[in-house]
């Protein structure tokens, strides 16, 4: 992707997120943030298939297991 296309994409992403002002004042910070935010997550542990496991409902009482 050319530099221009990259900066156009960043501008669109930033404006979609309502970060036009931040992009204008801190272009390097917003660029680094977009790269970091969009970076894919690492692989899940072996033997764990996220497709087969629904997103958990966060329940602190589950943490009492094992006590």
């Amino acid at each position: 992707m050319s530099d221009n296309a990259g900066s156009d994409r960043l501008r669109v992403l930033a404006e979609q997120a309502g970060l036009g002002r931040a992009l204008e004042k801190f272009p390097d910070g917003v660029k680094a943030a977009a790269e970091r935010g969009l970076r894919p997550l690492g692989d899940h542990p072996k033997g764990y298939d996220p497709v087969a496991h629904p997103a958990p409902v966060f329940d602190p009482t589950l943490f009492e297991r094992g006590t």
């Binding site: 680094a32 935010g37 997550l41 690492g42 943490f63």
Partner: protein, 478 residues
């Protein structure tokens, strides 16, 4: 009697109860010391001298009448300026919060008020409990009492610095990715991140909703357990607060660790990342002490450290951005650069990535639970590296995630940082002791046995204390 600056909670409390020490005298001595010493360390954002003296006088009168409320009665403490105290601003060390005034006490502040504790003041932090030591905010960052040019850790930096400088015997911090344990590590004190739900988050300004924890910070393990007992317990105003009764962490605190089974998560610092040799030397020596005390030690494996970091940081960025979105959109320049750079990635995390991070969290929690079968606790490093120069922004950014603390924010289980000695250049070293949910009594017991045997905690002996510099020294980076 021990110098009042270095008096521990347990010792001071016993003297107060016996009528041998006036809480007013103790409080005034610390207020005087804060005035004399803290201009060089910036631990406090606000000193609540009038409130402190009023609380101390009330405690003294009650105890004289035989109305002793418990081991925090008449004991001075400080709170990170992220806890609401009725009538006072909760600045979160941020320009964004100027003009704020809290209408109610946070649950933990109320608990300590009811316990008769004495609030000396509110301590500095990394803005909104993230980012790093910033020089582009209305207040300077807290400094490390062991070397004021080095990072004091954070985000509960002021609480850590105040304890190490002998300004208070107890303090409150918060921990989302290690923010109690990092200043504990860097300042050579003791800090615990209790089990998620064990201590109410009500009245504490959130960084993230599912990773935040409130944690006690002290100079020794027994004091930490005392403070924990005072603030733990169910709070109907916090939906994440557990109904589980609070375990007694003091009953078996000094009963030793003979026969306890301890795992070492060694690959975090020997394979997954390059750790500072001094930190590794510190934990290896500490493991030898645990063995000598009768613990049965073996290594355990979990997923590689970078996967835990990825999981924590994705949730952290997304949830923190959700809280600060409006201000980051409308007034991004009012945040410190380090804070802004920490929070902005959350704007770009797709919903699918956040959901996958929560799925990953469930998988990692299960993995940890399985690894803990047959173990009473695990130990690993806290910081992989030594604290960098406080004003070296590039180093702060580079080292921010070089740590093993955020693992236990992902699992929500208890983890404590205890000092393991000093580096060649005199900076504190530390390790973490962690366990299952609600394993605080076991964690404290191991920490107590280790610290007592190793003698690594700051105490009344001047050899264990940092050599503080004169407040008149000009600040290099301010």
């Amino acid at each position: 009697m021990t110098d009042l600056a270095w008096l521990a909670v347990a010792e001071g409390s016993a003297l107060v109860r016996a009528g041998k020490l006036s809480p007013v005298e103790w409080t005034q001595a610390l207020l005087d010391r804060v005035a004399a010493v803290d201009p060089a360390y910036n631990s406090f954002l606000a000193v609540t001298a009038d409130l402190a003296l009023a609380q101390a006088k009330q405690a003294e009168a009650e105890i004289a009448k035989g109305e002793w409320r418990g081991p925090m009665h008449g004991v001075p403490y400080a709170a990170k300026d992220i806890f609401d105290v009725e009538g006072l601003p909760t600045t979160c060390h941020s320009k964004i919060r100027i003009g704020h005034r809290a209408r109610f006490d946070a649950f933990t502040i109320r608990r300590l008020r009811e316990a008769g504790a004495v609030l000396i003041g509110k301590t500095a932090l990394h803005e909104f409990a993230t980012g790093g030591p910033a020089f582009d905010l209305p207040w300077p960052p807290a400094r490390n009492p062991w070397n004021r040019d080095r990072h004091p850790g954070g985000s509960s930096s002021g609480s850590g610095a105040a304890l190490a400088a002998g300004l208070v015997p107890a303090a409150l911090g918060t921990d989302t990715g290690g923010s109690v344990r990092n200043p504990a590590t860097c300042c050579g004190i003791v800090g615990i991140k209790p089990t998620y739900g064990a201590v109410s988050l009500a009245g504490v300004f959130p960084l993230t909703h599912s990773l935040d924890h409130v944690g006690p910070m002290t100079r020794n393990v027994e004091d930490n357990a005392i403070l924990y007992q005072a603030i733990a317990g169910h709070d109907p105003d916090d939906p994440t607060s557990t109904w589980r009764p609070v375990d007694d962490c003091l009953k078996d605190l000094k009963s030793g660790i003979k026969g306890l089974r301890i795992g070492v998560i060694e690959h975090f610092y020997t394979e997954d990342a390059k750790a500072d040799p001094d930190q590794v030397r510190g934990i290896n020596a500490a493991i030898d002490v645990l063995r000598r005390l009768g613990a049965r030690v073996r290594t355990v494996r979990l997923s590689p450290l970078p996967l835990w970091t990825d999981c924590n940081r994705t949730i952290h960025a997304s949830e923190a951005y959700a809280i600060h979105e409006r201000d980051l959109q409308s007034r991004p320049e009012d945040f410190a650069m380090l804070t802004r750079n920490r929070m902005l990635p959350g704007a770009f995390v797709p919903a699918s990535k956040y959901i996958k991070a929560q799925q990953l969290r469930a998988a990692l929690c299960r993995e940890f639970d399985e690894a803990m079968q047959g173990l009473d606790a695990v130990v690993t490093l806290s910081s992989l590296l030594m604290p960098c120069a406080i004003d070296d922004t590039a180093a702060v950014l580079r080292t921010y995630d070089q740590q093993c603390r955020l693992v236990f924010n992902v699992t929500g289980t208890a983890a404590i940082s205890v000092p393991t000695g000093f580096s060649a250049d005199g900076m504190p070293l530390a390790m973490q002791i962690a366990g299952r949910s609600f394993s605080e009594p076991t964690i404290y017991r191991i920490a107590q046995a280790y610290c007592e045997a190793a003698g690594t905690c700051i105490g009344s002996d001047p050899k264990t204390q940092p050599k503080l510099i004169s407040a008149a020294r000009p600040a290099a980076a301010e």
